[in-house]
Amino acid sequence: MSAPVAAERRWTAMIGPWSLTVALLAGAWVLNTVALPDGSSEASFVTRTTIGESATTRNLELTVTGVRAARTLTDPQGWSAGGEKTQGTWLVIDLDAAALQSQYAASLGFAELTIGDRTFGATERGETFYRQRLVTGVPRSGSLAFELPADALKGTATLRLSIPADVRYDGIIELPIALGDIPVEESIVLSETGWTRG
């Protein structure tokens, strides 16, 4: 008679540890599921907008006023790039931008275009709005240009803009751009960087 009783006692004694194990495993699984990916603590604060809609983040206010594409690019000073030799495409973003709080170190220092899993930085060639000074409360206008492979104008791209070159912990403005809808012109001239008129 004593053997089954002892076995039963052993079995009941194991309920505690096993249920604790299950509870801990389940808790670990839940934690692992709800935890944000690595690097989330330094992720940017994203403000989403669309073409023609004004958006603000921290010290930056901007409106993308137009998107154009061309085989050849010319800046107001006469510098030119592209054409038949390069086989590439230029995507040009026209925008108005101003600083909100401080003009100190305020320039458009971050401009990236993501198409699928490829990310392109705004060109530093020619005279563009890239890294140009912003003025507190007074918008200035200009163009950013991205040099893309010839086959890149497909699907939807994401444009991300901000003031600091390092956007970790900082605000960025993000907007989608439907690349397929943009007619590719033979040649376009960049807007001159200057005060926003009209």
């Binding site: 909100l100 401080s102 409360g137 005060w195």
Partner: protein, 201 residues
Amino acid sequence: MTIPTPPQHREPAPRAAVERAGWWRTNRLPLLALLVLVPVVGIGVGWNEWHYAYGYGARKVNAVVAADKGTIELNGATWGPVRSGEIPDASDIDIPEGTRLLAAVIPVEPDAAAIACAAPVLVQQSTGREWTPMRSEIGIPFNDEEPSTCISDLADEDDPNSAMPYSMVVAFVVPDDVEGPFWVEVDPVGDDRFVRFSIDP
């Protein structure tokens, strides 16, 4: 030899009461330590964070404010008195509609050696919004006679202690609806304070 009378046991106090009074008494040292350590930790952590942000002179917090039309002695130079005003609409200056151009002239008289400084900043006193000087952006070419930051012209080239007096001339493009008074701030290199003038052009 007699057997000593055994000590008389007093009736013990109710156990709960002893525990209540006794706990505070037994732990009075840790409690005192807590009373000291909690504020010390708070102040220590706060100071450390503050020092990290402001302690290395990158963002100065100690302003030396000039009296109205007054001067300031700071960091081996005399600053001011500042003159300021709104530049009336000039056709050769490129500023957009809805803005005004505020200019400030800040005389600098070094005592001996030249002093370096960052370009002056215009700050709206009510909001803290900041403007930095504009020049090429408004179509005014660079001019030796109107430096927008500290310069080091020497009266005698061989004597570094013969810095000449000069005036910084700066202009700010400010929206029409931004109202004064403003601060004009100059931050000299080598001092943990900065110069501040109040203007209301």
